[in-house]
């Protein structure tokens, strides 16, 4: 096993990786932009090196600098987390060439899966179902006509994309030209490649994904599936495992398709194969993420294993520590993503400062965070601040546990979606597992906050007023007659 690893990431995932590294006796190196000075991942690490560079996200993407730090400090491996350099095949290659282990797949698998079109073709070749689609690159001149021929609604996606960037829904032929134009310009900006493709949109589909892990020899195990349909802006905010209401047969077929794809790619590392499942029970391959997923904790909770530890073992050449028949899910796990945003304003990202942070406690309640009190939430990084994960015997119990945990969580000083997530948990359609990717927009009305009970609002106002020193002086310090004459905010 490695004796020292560098974690090329920030926030909750860097802290989460370091937690496992510490448990395994591996020393950790953090890299950070100066905006993150004092962040938990920096404080947790055995060594921390500040990255040069003004633009915060660019610093975390500075391959040469990160590889240089790794070599200088004698770290044998780099764990990239998710986002940033985690799916950058060129980086994986450079790391390997520098004699450092990249905790991830080989560059070939990343290259294959990193391109939506290539990965889709590969899936189709290996018998994994894919949705009808046409590629702009195949015949750019007739792209619009070929797209129309699939039929509406269509989804326009960036070939090199992910995370909803450069993705547009088109319901009518009249909107197609504009959608292709904007999708292409977003794709160009985010991925440096403006090529897009059009795909049949599966309406009211469910986002189901399968966690796999492979040792690089073609041996791939599935670690059950996750349900990730609760999304806004094409990004998940609630995930659970196992997926509710899947028949054994469907479950078996989806897992088998995932294993088939990853085995064919001789995949090494933890990975996730995403599918869209239609109301007609047909499912199609969406993409494979060749990294640790944000929502990996729900899988860990139902299986009682540590995916980061497994990643380290596979990367160190120790192989997999379990067999498929050892994988026995138990109970139900739910994760919610705590984001700095305003759900009532179309989920607009928010900034501020974490003034107060109080965490819920209790059995099977896990908080994966990368923020500390006093830390600024800036527009430089993603708006996700932390994840709250619970596990219980049944789905209903897990929902109840999550409601309680959310109520006990206080993160004040920046607007967050905590109350909104609590309303999702309390929604009858969520309790009944009537979920698909349109859930949040379909139930937008009933997910709005109801008016607070008058007494509660009064108590909150009194508490707020008493948090002000001016008001306290008036309420407690000044003798009665003066208070009556005082001219405080009239």
């Amino acid at each position: 096993m490695f004796s020292k690893v560098l974690v090329a990431n920030r926030g909750e995932i860097a802290a989460r990786i370091m937690r496992t590294a510490k448990e395994m006796g591996i020393a950790t190196v953090a890299v950070y932009h100066h905006l993150d000075r004092g962040a938990p991942h920096v404080r947790m690490a055995d060594e921390a090196v500040e990255l040069d560079g003004d633009v915060p996200t660019k610093a975390y993407l500075d391959q040469e600098q990160i590889i240089g730090i790794c070599a200088r400090l004698g770290a044998e491996a780099i764990h990239p987390g998710y986002g940033f350099l985690s799916e950058n095949a060129e980086f994986a290659e450079r790391v390997t060439k520098a004699g450092i282990v990249f905790v991830g797949p080989d560059a070939g698998a990343m290259h294959l899966m990193g391109d939506k079109v290539r990965s889709r073709n590969f899936a189709a070749e290996h018998g994994v179902p894919v949705a009808p689609s046409v590629l702009q690159g195949d015949d750019p001149e007739n792209f619009l006509a070929r797209a129309k021929a699939i039929g509406f609604p269509l989804l326009i996606k960036a070939s090199a994309g992910g995370g909803g960037k450069g993705m547009k829904i088109v319901r009518e032929a009249a909107d197609l030209v504009e959608a292709v134009r904007t999708a292409s310009s977003e794709a160009e900006r985010y991925f440096g490649d403006g090529l897009v493709y059009a795909e049949k949109l599966v309406e009211r589909g469910r986002h189901i994904e399968v966690q796999v892990i492979g040792d690089g020899t073609g041996r791939v195990l599935h670690l059950c599936e996750r349900e990730c349909s609760i999304q806004r802006r094409y990004q998940k905010i609630v995930e659970e495992a196992p997926a509710p209401n899947l028949s054994d047969d469907l479950c078996h077929r989806i897992r088998a398709a995932a294993v088939q794809l990853a085995s064919a790619a001789k995949y090494r590392n933890a990975g996730t194969i995403e599918f869209i499942l239609g109301a007609d029970r047909e499912f199609y391959f969406l993409e494979m993420n060749t990294r640790l997923q944000v929502e990996h904790p729900v899988t860990e909770m139902i299986l009682g294993l540590d995916l980061v530890a497994e990643q380290f073992r596979v990367a160190a050449g120790e192989g997999l520590s379990f067999r498929q028949e050892d994988i026995k899910p138990s109970g139900h796990a739910i994760e919610v993503r705590i984001c700095a945003e305003e759900p009532e304003k179309d989920f607009r990202p928010a900034i501020g400062r974490v003034g107060l942070l109080r965490l819920p406690a209790g059995e099977q309640v896990r908080f994966d965070g990368g923020i500390a009190e006093g830390q600024a939430v800036t527009p430089a990084f993603d708006s996700m601040l932390a994840k709250l994960i619970v596990h219980s015997g049944t789905r209903a119990e897990a929902i109840a546990r999550m409601k309680a945990a959310l109520a006990d969580l206080a993160l004040l000083g920046v607007p967050t979606n905590i109350d909104y997530l609590a309303r999702v948990m309390a929604h009858p359609a969520f309790a009944a597992a009537r979920i698909d990717t349109g859930f949040l927009s379909e139930h937008a009305g009933t997910l709005n906050p109801d008016d607070a009970v008058a007494e509660l609002e009064r108590a909150a106002c009194a508490a707020a007023a008493l948090a002000q020193s001016d008001f306290r002086r008036l309420a407690f310090d000044v003798p009665e007659p003066h208070a009556a004459m005082g001219g405080w905010r009239n």
């Binding site: 607070a452 108590a459 008036l474």
Partner: protein, 175 residues
């Protein structure tokens, strides 16, 4: 003797009616007794009309956050005196709510726009966000350039003032 708190766009008036033997606050012309109990750092505990409320609070630079019974209340102290900047349908200035970068400009000086029209597209926190016109009107000026970065509260777009428009209308009619 009034303090005003803004909550969800509403202004809540709060008066101190008396302080002995216990603090009495007036909400909507009804008196309520408030007793503050000791609480750990960041938490509060108060007895309001005999009922105990426990929660957390944090007073930031602009807002006061109160977390109570699984609910977050974000309040600001209402401006004393007259209205601050005119907002909503009388607004002349469109300001940024957060720092970001200009990705696209979809209007030009002199354009007539409708409320809700996207004026510019900005990028902030890795997201593209459209900045919408707060009201119908005529664009007086655009104060940012494509690819420019700006801070929170920066002036992005200004509208010709409504009064001037009315004057202009009158002039046209007279002419």
């Amino acid at each position: 003797m009034t303090t005003q708190l803004k909550l969800d766009g509403r202004t809540i008036r709060l008066d101190i009616a008396g302080r002995k033997p216990a603090l009495r606050l007036v909400f909507d012309s009804v008196e309520h007794e408030v007793i503050e109990l000791p609480a750990e750092d960041g938490a509060f505990e108060l007895k309001l009309d005999g009922r105990v409320y426990r929660g957390w609070r944090y007073a930031g630079e602009r807002e006061i956050y109160v977390r109570l019974d699984g609910r977050t209340f974000v309040m600001s102290l209402a401006e004393a005196g007259g209205a601050s900047e005119t907002k909503g349908r009388h607004a002349n200035a469109v300001r940024s709510e957060m720092p970001g970068t200009v990705i696209g400009i979809h209007c030009a000086r002199g354009d007539e726009v409708r409320a809700g029209d996207t004026l510019i597209t900005i990028e902030s926190m890795k997201l593209q966000i459209g900045v919408a016109a707060p009201r119908d009107g005529v664009i007086e000026d655009i104060h940012v350039a494509a690819n420019a970065t700006f801070e929170r509260d920066a002036l992005l777009v200004s509208f010709a003032a409504l009064a001037e428009l009315a004057d202009a209308d009158l002039m046209e009619k007279r002419a």
